[in-house]
């Protein structure tokens, strides 16, 4: 051993955590170390199981998680080239999400932890998304977070592990959900986000006048339901006006582009208010970080809009790689490492009687 190696001193206590995610339609696992290395990961997407239904069917998801979880964990452990006894802890999503899937992941994690005498850590899925930027970069607290996925649309101020303040959230549909529904209306199939983005590429973003719900209003809440309805009404009126009842490819692309532009305007309008508030609350930060997370962050058009916005506003934009934006096991393992660091070495982990929670807002503590 080299006593003067600086890394040995800095990382005197290193952790190895298995993370398990099963709250929606991905069964995922990963082993992550406290030096931010992803040693191995596994993922089963249920995309094909749900495809013909145009959305995630809870009971199909619950069955599929149980079918896939052993294989996904085995593959993850093999890829990481470690055994369960090498782990510091086993972390799993315990909410929010589809409860049939959450139960499968959380129960499997508790079983592995108990059988090997390891710590169990129950993770809030949203917290994992919120902390992912710190796995993929040297990001420090505090920062502003835009979380946009199929299940959630939120703006949060992240002050530390377990210390979140929600600035705003969607009053109705999540943005990813709106993309999926619009894709369905446009006959584009799922996943809706990439399909709408692709279709919009050949369209004009000013082709149709669509509303920007909440624009100009105080606060940071979103609403996408009215925008979605406007797309449907536009489609119906186009069909009624057309001589043969058909809608042209040009109109379809224009509508996709117009929807995407409206969604982008909504995001930036709400984010603008959030940046003003965040700067007021953190006057010492000259260049506040804006972190994006969630599956919608994969949309290149929206990413482009966010990049320009960050530049104009004087923010550092932190966008984790795509595979870490969508649901994955590494973010759960990383959130587990953050919890271990925060709690210190004597912490026994969360109780094996920790309950799963279909709803669990991020700024609400476990006991409330």
């Amino acid at each position: 051993m080299q006593p003067d190696s600086p890394s040995l001193i800095v990382h005197a206590k290193s952790f190895l955590v298995l993370g398990i995610e099963s709250s929606c339609d991905e069964t995922a696992a990963a082993v992550v170390s406290s030096d931010k290395t992803i040693l191995g990961q596994g993922l089963h997407s249920q995309f094909n199981d749900h495809r013909s239904f145009g959305g995630v069917v809870p009971e199909i998801a619950a069955r599929a998680h149980l079918d896939q979880i052993e294989r996904v964990i085995s593959e993850t452990m093999s890829a990481a080239r470690i055994g369960f006894s090498d782990l510091t802890a086993v972390a799993a999503t315990v909410g929010p999400g589809l409860i049939g899937g959450v139960i499968v992941g959380a129960t499997t994690a508790k079983a592995i932890a108990l059988a090997h005498g390891k710590k169990f850590i129950g993770i809030n899925h949203l917290e994992a998304h919120a902390l992912t930027g710190r796995l993929s970069s040297g990001l420090e607290f505090p920062y502003l977070l835009l979380l946009v996925s199929g299940g959630h649309s939120q703006i949060l101020a992240v002050h530390g592990v377990g210390d979140y303040r929600q600035y705003g959230s969607s009053l109705d549909d999540a943005l990813g959900e709106a993309f999926d529904k619009v894709a369905k209306m446009l006959g584009l199939g799922i996943p809706g986000g990439p399909a709408v983005e692709q279709c919009a590429k050949s369209g004009r973003s000013d082709g149709f006048a669509l509303p920007r719900p909440m624009q100009g209003r105080a606060g940071c809440d979103f609403s996408f339901s009215g925008l979605k309805t406007a797309v449907r009404l536009t489609l119906e009126s186009l069909a009624a006006k057309s001589s043969n009842g058909m809608i042209s490819q040009g109109d379809r692309s224009d509508l996709a582009a117009s929807f995407q532009a409206a969604a982008g305007d909504c995001l930036l309008d709400r984010l603008h208010n959030a940046v003003v508030r965040f700067r007021r609350e953190h006057p010492s930060l000259s260049v506040p970080p804006l972190v994006i997370a969630g599956g919608v962050a994969a949309n290149q058009y929206l990413r482009g809009r966010l990049e320009s916005f960050a530049e104009v506003q004087g923010l550092t934009l932190v966008a984790p790689p795509l595979a870490l934006c969508t649901d994955n096991g590494a973010m759960i393992a990383w959130a587990g490492i953050e919890r271990l660091r925060l709690q210190g070495g004597d912490w026994p982990g969360d109780g094996l009687d920790m309950a799963t929670r279909p709803r669990w807002p991020l700024d609400q503590s476990l006991d409330s």
């Binding site: 964990i73 085995s74 499997t108 079983a111 592995i112 446009l186 119906e236 009842g245 809608i247």
Partner: protein
Amino acid sequence: MTDTDSMSKNIILAIDSSGAQLSLAVFQGSGILASRSLPARFGQGELLFTQLQSLMAEVAKHGIVFSQIAAVAVTEGPGSFTGIRTGMAAARGLALALAIPTLGVSSFKAYQLAAVARLPLATERIMVVIDSRRELHYVQEFILNPAGECECEWEWEEAFLASSAEVRQRLESAATPIHVTGDVAELVLDWSPIDIALVARHAASLWARGSGKLAEPFYLRPPDLSQPKKPLREIHFATEPAP
């Protein structure tokens, strides 16, 4: 091979969370070493591991630890949807962690075992009726030999869905009296809950004979598909003109 090695081959952990209770037992050689049974219609996931911890602490007095368990037996349903997910995930998680197999015992079989233990030997036929929380119940019939044993082990194909009226009609028209058990209150007059000790003993005997099978959740119907409340008006798009 040491004595401990050969004995450990017979240690079976059994889990049931498919119905209205959470039960655990450790079986070794010829008998139950420890067991737990608590009423739990919901929240089996919260109870299961603290109960398992205390169960393992109890068998530790016999020198038994997790790594000596040979197989994890679990009731596969039918029954509570979340209860079965909890039991199956716990059994599979433990099996994965310990690199041992699971052993499936159907909940029909578990009810049949409990009934046989309490019935006179002359009983020839048992019908298990399990609540599906819908109009039709899950039903399976068992035929017993004169020794009160049921030679049939896995007969999924014989399980079926039936209404209370259909079950009653079958009971009335049967040539031999049929004893009804299970958890449908209006049909089951003499209720005997699943007995985890009997499940563990049954699984251990399957294991000893090498005739066990890996646990698979019981599904008699396809998944529940929630349909959109308001079907979207059908809109057609013109196909792209050839370039």
